[in-house]
Amino acid sequence: MAKKKAESEDIIQPLSDIDKIIHEPSRLMIMSVLYVVESADFVFLRNQTGLTDGNLSSHLNRLESVGYVEVEKKFKGKKPQTILKLSKEGREAFEIYREKMEQVLTGLSEK
């Protein structure tokens, strides 16, 4: 009985370690897109994620505040342009998140 309880804790325990910043679906989409590219601007990210301007903006602010995303604002002619890329910490956090999720999902899979 005690052994079974320990096993179930082993499976569920990693859930508490999951990075909740990344785990939010919209931010997970943003992180996934930014992970596979070197950098992208705001418009590109909006098109890829399908998020509204306001939504994307707030999630990016959150990701920037924890240091996962680097934001560079510049002007292209008279138009403002926001270039976004994952920071080194962001990349590492995303990789750890993937590993943890894989562990959890493998544990949760039906056999």
Binding site: V33, V36, A40, F42, V43, L60, L105, S109
Partner: protein, 215 residues
């Protein structure tokens, strides 16, 4: 609807992201213009005095390139946005360039051999000459490009252009030179440009221009 427990396939996300940059059909139209230039070059070279005939294809390359760069800047970027891809994608582009360079090198060597030894020639029965050379030196490298660039329309374009030389030979039975080449290459480049334009229209509908960006 995908289940949350399904794996996030990063390769698939990268591929989808990359393909979105080719959705505008501008590369297809550019390729169509190049093929039109190739046909025009072959058709007009007997008429246009030497060495001006060599410039026909260069003019079309210039027109195509100007169209490509302008359209990407004025049509694609404001709608789709700007993206820079990572090392793996750059590697795929380099592989494409490598294959195309090798192909060009082989063509150049064959041309030089033929130029220095006019008596040497590849003799194939019937109209297989155009078919084999077209499939070998046009279809194969364009299909390699389609594979490395992950752009499926190029498979069709490669086949169409590769068959053009053979079709020109067949058309020469009914049409006087140089109209056989002109008609075949105009039709093939027309199909490619039309497919590109359809993609462009779909792209314009899918990605309208937003007034301002927020961040």
């Amino acid at each position: 609807m995908k289940k949350i427990t399904e794996k996030i396939d990063l390769k698939e996300i990268e591929k989808k992201t990359w393909r979105s940059t080719l959705e505008d059909g501008i590369l297809d139209i550019y390729f169509g213009i190049l093929i039109l230039g190739l046909g025009m070059g072959m058709t007009l070279s007997p008429v246009v005095p030497n060495p001006l005939d060599k410039f026909i294809i260069i003019i079309f390359i210039g027109i195509g390139l100007a169209f490509f760069l302008t359209a990407k800047k004025l049509i694609t970027q404001p709608r789709l946005g700007i993206v820079k891809f990572g090392i793996k994608r750059k590697g795929r582009k380099l592989k494409t360039l490598f294959v195309l360079s090798i192909n060009l090198l082989i063509l150049l060597i064959l041309f030089l051999i033929r130029f220095t030894n006019p008596e040497l020639s590849l003799e194939f029965p019937g109209y297989l000459d155009g078919l084999i050379l077209g499939l070998l030196f046009i279809t194969a490298p364009v299909c390699f490009t389609a594979y490395f660039l992950q752009h499926p329309p190029f498979y069709i374009f490669g086949l169409l252009v590769g068959l053009s030389f053979f079709l020109s030979d067949v058309f020469s039975l009914f049409l006087p030179e140089p109209f056989d080449v002109l008609i075949v290459f105009s039709i093939v480049s027309g199909i490619i440009i039309l497919m590109g334009l359809i993609s462009l229209i779909k792209f314009l509908q899918k990605y309208p221009v937003h007034k301002e960006e927020m961040a």
